[in-house]
């Protein structure tokens, strides 16, 4: 087990800079998820940690050892690949022991390790089969077993679940998390799936265009996104972004919302939610999560941040536990999460309660969050 420090790391391929000064530090035993859309540089960063690519500038430390110049095999890491990368010509037993044989581990110790790993991952009965004879989930487990056998300081996972079907993916997610709790090794996990990131990570680094947009715990990233990209990327369905103008109401700031069914309302934004003085008579982006616009909230009468809006329903999408109701606010489609029994039909009007106590405001030009 070891901590991992990534200090000011950049990476260029020719003249294209794919990583632009990455800084990430995690403690020993932490589960770090790198998440972002394709092309954001997350896999490149993982390859840099693995040593499969060379760093252009900056440094990477595993424990307190700078590994920039150390070859992949000497970094004491193990990696699980997207397509599992099991050696097709070798039995499962050989797949697991290959790395140990290469490292000249004594035969007896190899045998013990293979058996220990097989028991841990319940793949004992598969040991003499070939990878082609295994199902996707079993291959995934073998790939993890091969990584565990080496007992590395850091585990690297490169989108390991993206080839599995939806149900198996959820199962393996739990299994990987469970595994982490048992062996407690530092893990760096790359994915483009924000749900995987949220459910598995101790800390998430959200990347875009070779820059870490935010590096924090899953809950912080969800509640306090640092910019519009993070706010929109994390959470499903995504956060609603409503452009609105800031007015003065008494000596407080208020945002104007127009649902098209009544006269535009001016909703006061208390200073503890956001200081909007500098934006008065200009426009801002109001970010509000779908679950904060609902049919009703238990404390709606006592809470001054909750306002009623009369809206016309344009589409409804039942998900089972909730129904997503899409309405127009300030000429923008807005998703609201409503109890299925309370949802109106498309074309009808309904009263929705909007809770602005956790609302987030963004600068419309930079997309940055307004404190």
């Amino acid at each position: 087990m070891a901590s991992l420090s990534i200090n000011n790391v950049t990476k260029s391929f020719g003249s294209t800079e794919v990583l632009k000064g990455i800084n990430i530090n995690i403690d020993s035993g932490e589960f770090l998820v790198l998440v972002g859309p394709s092309g954001c540089g997350k896999s490149t960063l993982l390859n840099l940690i693995a040593g499969l690519e060379t760093i252009t500038s900056g440094e990477i430390l595993i424990g307190d050892r700078v590994v920039n110049e150390i070859s992949p095999k000497d970094r004491d890491i193990a990696m699980v690949f997207q397509n599992y990368a099991l050696y097709p010509n070798m039995s499962i037993r050989k797949n697991i022991s290959f790395g140990l044989e290469t490292r000249k581990v004594p035969r007896k110790e190899i045998e013990e390790t293979v058996n220990r790993v097989a028991t841990l991952l319940q793949i004992g009965e598969l040991l003499d089969r070939k990878p082609a004879q295994l199902s996707g989930g079993q291959r995934q487990r073998v790939a993890m077993g091969r990584a565990i056998a080496r007992n590395p300081e850091v585990f690297l996972f490169d989108e390991p679940l993206s080839n599995l079907d939806a149900k198996l993916r959820v199962e393996m997610r739990t299994e990987i998390k469970h595994l982490h709790q048992r062996i407690n090794t530092t893990i760096v996990y790359v994915t483009h799936d924000q749900i995987e990131a949220m459910t598995m990570a101790d800390r998430i680094a959200i990347m875009k265009d070779g820059i870490v947009q935010q590096f924090d715990t899953p809950q912080q990233v969800y509640d306090n996104p640092s910019n519009m990209f993070v706010a929109g990327f994390i959470g499903s369905p995504s956060m609603n972004f409503i452009e609105c103008s800031v007015k003065t109401e008494g000596n407080q700031s208020a945002v104007e919302l127009n649902t098209g069914t009544e006269t535009p309302q001016q909703l006061v934004i208390p200073p503890e939610v956001c200081q909007l003085e500098a934006y008065r008579e200009k426009s801002v982006i109001l970010g509000v999560r779908p679950e904060k616009i609902a049919h009703g909230f238990p404390d709606q009468d006592a809470n001054p941040s909750i306002h009623a809006l009369q809206c016309k329903v344009s589409v409804i999408e039942p998900t089972g536990p909730d129904t997503l109701v899409i309405v127009m606010i300030n000429e923008k489609a807005v998703t609201c999460r409503v109890q299925p029994a309370e949802a109106s039909q498309p074309g009808e009007e309904m009263t929705l309660m909007i809770d602005l106590s956790k609302a987030i405001f963004f600068d419309p030009d930079s997309g940055r969050r307004i404190a």
Partner: protein, 274 residues
């Protein structure tokens, strides 16, 4: 269900059968002539099946062509093995160990494929002379190995492109180096590539004539050269060269019959896999 043959089909099949006949006529001619006695061979009855069969043509031809046949077998097998092995290593580098300029070098390799045998004949002769291996089988083997590298490299590079790079990376992390990865992981997966490349090389080298006659002395001549000399005189006993032709042609035909399905499969590999 009634089998119905549409007029279109009928025309198609008639044409195809005609083509088959056209292609098989020389084969028929070769076989029946080989089975005749020399005195039974004349223009008038050249199309007739022999009244009495002369298997002796084959032993006669073998007496003359035996050494050439041995030469050809040594030449073809050695050169095929060496050139496919080298091609496999090249393909491994070009697809999995790309380096700065490797694409350019690969392109230059490909040019080699389009150089006709005739163009490099004189330089090749001079090089083999300078290396002191002109005239014998080793020189001819070297020439064929070198000439075969471009095509075998191309076949293996394309074949290895289907092997996920993750396997190589994974093996690297497992601590394996360039040759260990090749021997333990890439080579065991290479059978279809080897089938395609070796059938190709076997056919090319076995059938090659020009280098065979120019670069070897009489005792080292391959079978193509021996065959030509068999038919080269004035008054020829035609049954003997015909039998020789069958002997010379048979190995390639057999290779295709037994490995042909792997050849097609190998060529299509990747085209049908996801």
């Amino acid at each position: 269900m009634k089998t119905q043959i549409s007029p279109g089909r009928l025309i198609l099949y008639s044409l195809l059968i005609l083509m088959v006949i056209v292609y098989l006529i020389p084969v028929y001619m070769t076989i029946i002539t080989a089975l005749k006695f020399p005195e039974d061979i004349n223009l008038l009855t050249s199309w007739d099946f022999p009244d009495r069969i002369n298997w002796g043509s084959f032993s006669q031809a073998y007496d003359k062509l035996g050494p050439n046949l041995t030469n050809s077998i040594i030449l073809t097998i050695t050169a095929t093995i060496l050139s496919t092995l080298l091609g496999s290593l090249n393909g491994y580098v070009f697809s999995k160990w790309k380096f700065r300029g490797s694409e350019t070098i690969f392109t230059l390799f490909l040019f080699g494929m389009f150089i006709p045998y005739q163009i490099i004949l004189i330089p090749l002769f001079q090089v083999l002379r300078a290396l002191n291996i002109y005239g014998g089988l080793p020189g001819l083997i070297l020439a064929h190995v070198v000439y075969g590298i471009p095509i075998t490299s191309l076949i293996f590079r394309n074949f290895y492109a289907q092997i996920p790079t993750g396997l190589i990376k994974s093996a690297q992390l497992d601590g394996a180096g360039f040759f260990r990865i090749y021997c333990r992981i890439v080579f065991p997966l290479s059978a279809p590539g080897f089938v395609v490349a070796s059938i190709w090389q076997f056919t090319q080298i076995w059938n090659e004539f020009l280098w065979g006659i120019c670069l070897t002395r009489h005792t080292s001549n391959p079978i193509t050269v021996g065959l030509a000399q068999l038919a080269g005189g004035q008054a020829v006993n035609w049954n003997m060269p015909m039998a020789g032709s069958i002997m010379a042609g048979l190995p390639v035909v057999l290779v295709y019959i037994f490995l042909g399905k792997y050849f097609i499969r190998g060529l299509l590999e990747g085209a049908i896999k996801e």
